[in-house]
Symmetry: C2
Subunit: 378 residues, 2 copies
């Protein structure tokens, strides 16, 4: 019988937390970074290659999968794990964020949101209950409640209205999830409230009263300054239950991750390592490196000879530069892989540091590595 | 000390030949198919993945590499094997075919061809001697002479003029290659003569008199009917030295390969498995399968459960259809890999059949598999 969702807080170091959660498809060490498998694939990577970066869980996008190939189809084919050949845990978002950012002709009521697919114009309706149903069809280990994501800037009244609606949708989500909770799957609520700290605190407090298996902070990483995001994280995280996981959605740069872990976040997802990799940018312990820059054209050195991942050690910067300039698929594949591997290496470093009570030292050393910048060109 | 180029004819079965050649970077069993690594990468595949398809040799394109990143740069970085992380044999073409098909403003003299790069308009000159020099800078195990590839249709006089020029360029290539031949590398001459059998025979005979390590048949697979191509192969192959390898350039479909092996060809290269894979087409023992067709959308079966390659067994047709429709990189990668693996499986099957004196049976069974077509839709 598969294990039921649970979270164990193993160690704290300041506000930083070292933990582990259990799902029906396996265990995940936190702080954890989840590569994004938008359309049932982490773009460009074989599932085995995702695993070899050190990732223990991936994210799937309900919005994309409901449009194509459709959740009923994936269920008939045995669920998302089988469909994409990924046997480890999967968290799915609820679709709320992409409905806001990708679709057109949205109409929002208390009951549901209706919208037009950005692919072919088909109309869809997404209610809290349908979001739960879709994620059950996909077979998600962790399900996210449907929330209303606002485009910012918005008035305080608008932010509060959306936050209150998201709370009511959280309650409906919890009711709709009861059978699935009994089977051992996890449901996370989502804190909203924009950049308004009192609203964020109210949202976090009331979600805790409803009671979920974990809590996400949503509606950030939508263009606000990093300081605003970190302020919201800093004020919100302590209000959330200490014995449950905290997930900062859609974040972010390596610097965002280390600063957010410092403030008590356990989980992240972001398209940045794959999206930027497809555009020739590498994330490394030397900071980010633009492989399309001509200074790499004759450089026989690897991106990072001390990396834990072979792709960061085996290919020269000159070769990665060449592949990037020639717009070769292999360049996109290698840089996406190298970037996810760096994110995983960063998370592993944070986990080890927290476990050893050395997070402040690790934080300082990591930032110094980025700030000192890349190795000099030959 | 690396081994010198040599070819051993191990077995014949009708006109079909089972052989082996030795190069400074290893041995290759023939009949062999060489995946095309145009721009120092077999499009979409890690070099380890190319190896895992069963490929023992890849082809590099002199034209593409001389334009970008440049042969002197690759030499300074340790040669093409090191640059692209491919430790096994590499054959490079001479650039003649791409000069004809891709560049503009060609000017041909007895001495050389000058042309304008299709990338940025830079002018380049390619002589037989420079083609040898470039391929030495790349570190090719097998070097191809520069030849003149005509656009067809052309008059007999034009075809003969180009054939005679290619012979003179073959002589110059051999002289320019002397030092490299002493180091153990191989040089192949190229038969030209269009669809004119007497010209083809003269070209083949005179190349044999000059003396190369192997012989290619060029100027085919440029749009002529398959019957014309096979007629040229059938009439030309017997004129070539029996104890040296024969390479049919730029060919072809699986059916082209089996018909050409039947007529005495030992080596092939073609972009078809990767190019068609990137466009959603799979080559299998059931024939070619268009994964973008909606009949695959709900099909949980793999492309070929009896394939030797795990990717053809592990992913459902429904998933490959989804990736193709969503234009996901992983779909292009998986189908390119599956197609090269099928080509390698076909070559391995031919090698085993020839060794066992069963080529006619293998030929009949393989064609029957393709002609019976794909498994019925569910």
């Amino acid at each position: 019988m598969p294990e039921h969702f649970s979270f164990t807080l193993l160690k704290t170091d300041g506000m930083a937390r070292r933990g582990e959660f259990v799902t029906p498809h396996g265990r995940v060490q936190t702080p954890a970074f989840m590569p994004v498998g938008t359309a049932a694939t982490v773009k460009g990577l074989h599932p085995e290659a995702v695993r070899e970066t050190g990732a223990e869980i991936v994210l799937g996008n309900t919005y994309h999968l409901m449009l194509r190939p459709g959740p009923e189809r994936i269920a008939a084919l045995g669920g998302l794990h089988k469909f994409m050949n990924w046997p480890l845990p999967i968290l799915t978002d609820s679709g709320g964020f992409q409905v806001m950012s990708l679709s057109s002709l949205r109409k929002l009521t208390e009951q549901a949101v209706t919208f037009r697919s950005h692919l072919d114009g088909t109309m869809f309706e997404l209610s809290p209950e349908r979001a739960i149903e879709i994620q059950a069809l996909l077979g998600a280990d962790i399900t996210m409640q449907l929330d209303e994501c606002l485009r910012l800037p918005a008035t305080r009244a608008e932010i509060e209205r959306a936050m209150q609606l998201s709370l009511r949708w959280g309650e409906r989500s919890k009711r709709a999830f009861e059978a699935r909770a009994r089977e051992g799957y996890g449901l996370f609520g989502i804190v909203q409230g924009g950049d308004d700290i009192p609203l964020r605190i109210e949202s976090a407090r009331r979600l805790g009263e409803i009671g979920f298996h974990g809590y996400a902070i949503g509606g950030l990483a939508v263009g606000e300054p990093q300081a605003v995001m970190l302020k919201v994280v800093e004020e919100t995280a302590p209000v959330l239950p200490a014995d449950q996981p905290r997930y900062l959605m859609g974040v972010g740069t390596p610097h965002d991750l280390i600063e957010s872990v410092k403030r008590g976040i356990d989980m992240f997802d972001c398209v940045m390592p794959t999206r930027n990799g497809r555009h020739g940018m590498a994330f490394t312990r030397y900071g980010s490196i633009n492989l399309s820059n001509a200074r790499h054209a004759n450089d026989p050195r690897p991106l990072d000879e001390a990396s834990r991942h072979p792709a960061a050690r085996a290919y020269s910067r000159a070769y990665l530069h060449h592949l990037t300039k020639a717009n070769e698929i292999l360049g996109q594949v290698l840089l996406s892989t190298i970037n996810i591997a760096y994110y995983q290496e960063l998370m592993a470093g944070m986990r080890e540091a927290i476990a050893g009570g050395q997070f402040a030292d690790f934080h300082a050393a990591t930032l110094a590595g980025w700030e000192n910048g890349d190795i000099p060109a030959l």
